[in-house]
Symmetry: C2
Subunit: 297 residues, 2 copies
């Protein structure tokens, strides 16, 4: 719901929400029921900047709380946009906590930078007092780095399932979900981390018995040998083929990698197809006429 | 979830959430199913301060978006606290948009101050560029004032009802709900306003067919002639009696007034009892052994 050229205002975000709403409304008219998982990178970035800028006046917030916050604000924009497509659409946004393992290897070496750039002085202060892990970002300043642990369970799956039974569109798992861990006594607590939204999508699709998972991106399809003379588009690949491509490092970790991994997860665990394609072509992607399909072996 | 003596940190808010969670868990053990509406005044205040402090770096947010945001963050804290009371509790937080009338008289003369105090210069700037209505607050600076319109419909009632059918506790309508209006074409948009959470509770209770509405406060019961030698506690009053007290100005507009009005609304529209009492005595309030009960005529 935000692109690099956008100004980041709520008005601009609403316009992006309308683009998505048109696509989803089209699907509902054709009889689909939709579970929507959205990202929240730029929005969480804004929240963390606000928290830092106001830190001398009000207590700082935390990354997990910011994910919960953006589930509210982005669900709100999406719902407005959807109702304005059709008053008859039944839409729900369900707060979604997603469990990750406290011993996920990601926590040992956090790599995902989030939030504002800090001076060295402020970075040292935050590392000391807030126990944040900080990294210098190629001369632009210091940033907080967090883990990107694997989603292992959806705390609110019962509520999402109840909503799906009566709604046309359920918005859940936004930003990959609010990351929580359980200690050895089962006590649950939030943790500052970023869960990949595509992996959360795959898990939700699996738990809900979805007929198909579609990962919507800015590109039309998945390619291998990207940028080389041998580059070619993939219309369909099996789980085994996709895994081989992943092992070969065909898909960058920060972009197409998790999307292909999520498609593999869904196809492998459910036996049903997953697809990756452009948001503007969603109808054709669902029909197998566009995008890249991942099918069980 | 925040008291005047609290520092406003997430850690402190979680402790308050635990206090509420204990009470709600106790009710669930006795077989109640609970729909919880919480306030969000201090939390929205924090959000608006963050928005102002970061306004030169990221676009400002709006009050309606902040309500959506606090539904996420406060639902998150409450859910954690509830799961940590009992892993078996089934809890859902549903984003709640509440409709108000575009011609609600509140919009003509906004009276509710929200957010930070501004200098006269900044206040003039915000009034001019953001079309905010500003008021001088007894020498402490300038503040934004917004309307407090009456809730007339709950956009997400279907989703809340679906959640209630499968959950022990549903958190919805937080902060009174995200205020939205419809124009003559039915187009829905957000509006910067504060909906009274007790009036939203009454409406939700009515729409869901709740057996009872309980307004939890810091005081044990409702009193008339408060602070006078003739002061007396009310154990029970009919809708007609409560209305007479309201007309007499027995209950201040900013505190007990809307609570009694909400109890009246619920008892009048449903024929079922409403009660007002202390959060620590909720069991006795439900049993009619504590607090103040409002019953249909």
């Amino acid at each position: 719901m935000m692109r690099p050229e956008d100004d980041g205002s709520l008005g601009q975000q609403y316009k992006r929400a309308v683009e998505v709403a048109k696509v989803l409304h089209g699907l509902c008219k054709r009889g689909y029921r939709v579970m929507l998982v959205h990202g929240n990178g730029p929005q969480v970035g804004q929240e963390l900047i606000r928290s830092e800028e106001a830190s001398t006046k009000v207590p700082m917030t935390s990354l997990d709380a910011c994910v919960a916050s953006t589930q509210g604000t982005m669900g709100y924009q999406l719902e407005l946009a959807l109702y304005n497509q059709s008053h008859a659409l039944r839409v729900a946004t369900v707060l979604t906590l997603v469990e990750v393992a406290g011993d996920d290897p990601g926590f040992k070496t956090p790599t995902k930078p989030v939030g504002p750039f800090f001076t060295a002085l402020r970075a040292r202060d935050l590392a000391k007092h807030n126990k944040w892990q900080m990294t210098e970002d190629s001369g632009r300043g210091w940033r907080k780095v967090v883990a990107s642990p694997k989603p292992i369970g959806v705390v609110n799956i019962g509520a999402i399932d109840a909503a799906m039974s009566r709604m046309d569109i359920v918005i859940a798992g936004g930003g990959g979900g609010v990351p929580v861990i359980r200690d050895s006594n089962g006590r649950m607590s939030g943790v500052e981390a970023v869960i990949d939204k595509d992996l959360t999508s795959a898990l939700l699709g699996q738990l809900l018995g979805a007929q198909m998972m579609v990962v919507l991106t800015a590109v039309d399809h998945v390619s291998v040998d990207f940028g080389k003379p041998t580059q070619r588009r993939i219309d369909q690949m099996t789980v085994a083929q996709a895994r081989l491509f992943l092992e070969q490092g065909q898909f960058p970790a920060g972009s197409m990698g998790p999307k292909v991994q999520a498609a593999v997860d869904f196809a492998r665990t459910t036996g049903r197809p997953a697809a990756i394609g452009a948001v503007t072509q969603v109808g054709r992607v669902l029909a197998g006429q566009a995008g890249t399909r991942v099918v069980a072996d």
